[in-house]
Amino acid sequence: MAAVLLTESVMKFAIALFSAAHAPSSRRALLFAQAALAGGHEIVRLFFYQDGVYNASGSVVTPQDEQDLPKQWRAFVAEHQLDGVVCIAAALRRGVLNEEEAKRYQREAVAVGAPWELSGLGQLHDAVQDADRLICFGGA
């Protein structure tokens, strides 16, 4: 019997995260993102908004016996060379500043750097336009 090759089309996902690193929905977002890539799909952008910006913070110190989401996100983005964008307005309000913003606002702590990019909501809309599916994680 001839083998039937089932090819599923590659879908483009935009994944937006609204909750902090310690929230269960942040872990779900990462697991979903990993499953999307493992399933052969593309992630056009990861966009962190509201408390989601904390997932990009290098200042977060996770208790030893808990999952270190910021570290896992960083590794995931670096490994797959994904576009990881943090909303600048949401980040500023929450004290997640990169070097440029820390200098601009004369703040002590630089909390975010590569691979994360601070940018505007236009990047979220851009991703929504480009992707086949927008999946949001957050709340609880």
């Binding site: 937006a16 609204f18 908004y49 309000r93 809309h125 929504v128 949001c136």
Partner: protein, 120 residues
């Protein structure tokens, strides 16, 4: 054809930054000429209550941002009639005149119409 986005705003005006941050997504979309709709649902309807005084809480008054929506090309504005009624608000006496009051069934159809949706 650009994809359309419906924002469903469910939070009361000053319960944290959610109401403002939902509005920011809508305004940004409007600024980029994208087809954006905004539905006020559940406590989100309180954003439309008349005679609010944000200054009393030293909070930002969002009504200026709301009034700016049509100027940003966002004219698809809706309010859940049930949410308003449950909260003692008259859908016809809201701070934003251009909102259309929708029934639950109409909201089902509304969500269906849009390509993407964010519920905040």
């Amino acid at each position: 054809m650009p994809k359309s986005l419906l924002m469903i705003s469910r939070q009361a005006p000053w319960s944290g930054p959610s109401a403002r941050e939902a509005l920011d997504i809508v305004l940004a979309g409007g600024a980029f000429d994208l087809p954006i709709g905004l539905l006020f649902l559940d406590d989100g309807v309180f954003q439309l209550a008349a005679k609010q005084d944000a200054k009393a809480l030293q909070q930002k008054d969002l009504s200026a941002n709301l009034q700016a929506l049509p100027m940003f090309g966002v004219e698809e504005l809706f309010v859940c009639a049930d949410s308003a009624a449950e909260r003692g608000l008259d859908p016809t006496g809201l701070a934003l005149e251009e909102t259309r009051a929708l029934s639950a069934d109409e909201i089902t159809a509304l969500i269906d119409r849009y390509d993407q949706v964010i519920t905040l």
